[in-house]
Symmetry: D4
């Protein structure tokens, strides 16, 4: 069994539909991951505790998804030295613009690398985590190259089908 | 010496120019207050600790000002049962729209009563705190009535001076 | 029968779907409340009259929900010394951004503590009202602590179900 | 001495720099006007009273300028049957976008004819008032035609000077 | 048969669903109106011609509705001395924010009194036109007062039904 | 003397500071141009007339710059079959967002090719006009290639100077 | 068989529903075109290669549609001297505002003539391409005039049907 | 001499004032870096070439800053398998909102981890790069812990100075 390298956390179980895209992409690259629901606001101590212990448990990257006044990624980042990647979840009223600004506009000192709002962001959060892991795992580099080549080839074929 | 009833916290000492407006308004009503700089991201444990202990120290209302991905009010609210009032600080690039959305768009469960961006918001944060305190302090109610009357009178006089 | 402590007002009966979330939360805490439809624009005298008399009737907090050029909370706040809490109702064209700015951007002098757009905002309006009331009602403080604990526990369980 | 036909009101004397553009344009057309400072929030009874009495005093159009959560035009409109014209004043943080939405997004039932943010809006508020008055004052129609012709001519000359 | 006093124009027949709200309100006040489809961009000469002749045909107010880069009200206003009232039509991609800014942000010199985006704006465009007409038609003033009273009464009754 | 191929129009002489960037770029490519001030709103007949005659005068591309409710490019496009290129001028209150949406969100049927807000947009308007002209002027193609090469080289040198 | 003069490219086959509007308009004018799917990000070399070879293949105008961080038109423009026309595709979360800004806000040096978000933009991209081609094809000029006349006539008839 | 691990690229030398904040932070952690000016639009081949060769040269993370239609980070990411971190540069007209959306809203398949607009974003880009490098460099982990502790301590001291 593989060691878990990437942790996915989200502020509510309603975010699962978006965040499972991150899990799918990690699966495609054979990277073991875990998922947890924890809220920056409703379970703050648990969120802080989770973040503080992640590095010692061998986690290498944390992906955090939240919507609205989306503080989860920032709170996680405040309590860990690991790279933290944020996914703004689309919100009911403002379409995720609030989630995006709450996640990306962090003050100097505590970084959150933020991806696009919604599913493309969740997929890319996983791909960024994989690129980070690949820095010390040459076999992952090769897999990314192959993924990129297949992706480009798929685009080229779409033309024919149009 | 009066007991401190209102706590003002802010995420950076650069927020002081805005937040001192809250202090001025509290002074006008003779309400004792304290001020602290603590960051949701850069000193998260201190922020949580501050929030957790405030009620037992006799604080009745916490006013929190922050800019950008403004998580301070939300983090404070997550760790206290006191009423928390948020002041969005104007941000360099987005004029405080990011601060506003990060403060106001809290998920159901943890409320932050949010005021306007910048100085009018800081003044009104104090006035809202005073209205909250006035619920069990009749002499404050009388002072608010007087403040309102003077305010209306001042407006009426502005016309003559125009 | 309990004395009514919280008043909920809204600008149109179409806002009821959102604002009843506030009523539900107040019910959960055993707080008696009343609800009224009154418009800042279409029934301005009635709105002013309502606000002027609320304090003497024993109301402690007024929650006001409105959409579009959402002036109701501001008009109520102008006519009462009670703490006023605003809920921006999602609007047809601009998703509640107009409601939010019209409610929160009050000038210094008359505060409206504003919550999130829509249902989370209505729920949190009630929770903020409860936190305000709890300042002089120790039994409510205990209830809030219990609510918070249950809320955190519920989040923790969501992970297992994911 | 001419009878006053147009009333200009504004929420704060700091709005005077913008609103005097309306006065200038009315002067150019020889229309008598008055100006008043009254706030929807800080002097609400005075604002309502002013609006209620305007029609009987012979006023034909009310121009109202306010910034931020700009409720003045709406409050005036709620208390008069006269045509009300709104001028959104540029706000410190959000450049008048809040003022615009608070003024223009009125619910069906109480209209506010809204002009552009700032000085062009104040000028045009006067010009719209003049067009309204001109409906029953043929000599004003002639003056508008002349103003338009001179304006077009001035534009044509600007090219030569470029 | 009554003389037509108000003209409603719109940029596309797809705007009819919104703009007929203006017609309904005019009908309620017994004011004769006409409606036309003419585009600032696709039939510019017809639009200009329509605007130029409206005053001489006895029209007193023109209501113009358009969406997207909504130039119709501005083009009409450029070619008439009549009061022109603009209704921003909700647009497919930007929810009418483009329509609103294109209609309201007119340069000093040519005014367009702008109402809310969509149906409330169309209703209020008619009500503003009626308020303009009422300046020289006392019987209309009485009707507006009655409409306002009924409107306020209807709001008061909504509470009971809630 | 070269034949004038490109016309630059702008809604106000205050737009000249921006629009002269277009002139500079045309000069760099040796293309003769003319400039005119004409307003969609304040001199509508002149604007329409100008647009209608441009093609017969040998103009090949019209560049139109305007701010606020920026209708000039759309009005010009409505009256000519030539390619029309729009430059949104930065506006006082909304930084050109209103100018951009008013220029670019044209309805299907009348196209305006829109460039960036402000000076980069004016420069690029000229470069797009040149690319259009180059379709039937091979010597211009060569000049564009040279311009592009110099531009890339300049960027490369900036690194050394950093 | 006609020579292909216009190339339509799009970043994903999901953009086809929008971009086929461009193809329809080109068909109406009898202009031969080709369509291709190529992504600025997922198939960057293919996109660059496509752009570099287009001019030599006789293409006169390239229309590029993309959504989100819509870089396709900019990447194409960077690699060709042909006129490039951009169509912002509506995006899931931000309704195409991201697509619009990513396409239109190009830096001085590389122009992209941008049309409206979505279908009207795709139609107008084709019409702008046709206007560009018409500069050296008099028979196209005549067709545009006829199209414009029919379009104006159709608008006039819509009134009757309303 | 240390091996260069982080590359900073920017679209224009005017971005240097912002991007040097990233260099400062890397210096504080003793990490060797290089800086380059290369434009996604004006020197596209050089940008692609730079990205393609970076991994083989031993670079571990690329930080890319650009403004407006900010394509640089996306173009770099399209041509490398390394983790790419984007910094939106404040833009003249839209305050960096265009830069932010152009950088962050990448389609699924090519990730760009985006930081805040302007200087805080540049600082955090370096800190995120350091966190990434620290995954396989334990001594860096220790340095981050120390930096975080000093940062928290500094905040605590700010209170005293207020």
């Amino acid at each position: 069994m593989s060691k878990i390298l990437v942790s996915i956390v989200m502020g509510s179980d309603s975010d699962l539909e978006i965040m499972r895209e991150a899990g799918k992409a990690l699966d495609d690259f054979g990277i073991a991951w875990e998922i947890d629901v924890t809220s920056a606001h409703r379970s703050p101590d648990r969120s802080a505790d989770y973040a503080k212990k992640a590095a010692d448990r061998g986690i290498k990257v944390i992906i955090a998804g939240a919507g609205g006044a989306a503080h989860l990624a920032g709170v996680i980042a405040a309590h860990t030295i690991l790279p933290v990647i944020g996914v703004p979840i689309p919100s009911t009223s403002l379409n995720g613009m609030d989630s995006l600004l709450s996640t990306v506009q962090m003050p100097g000192g505590i970084p959150v690398g933020t991806l696009a709002i919604g599913k493309p962001g969740a997929t890319n959060a996983a791909l960024l985590a994989i690129a980070i892991l690949a820095n010390s795992r040459p076999e992952l580099r090769e897999k990314i190259r192959q993924f990129r080549a297949e992706q480009a080839e798929k685009i080229a074929k779409e033309t024919l089908a149009s």
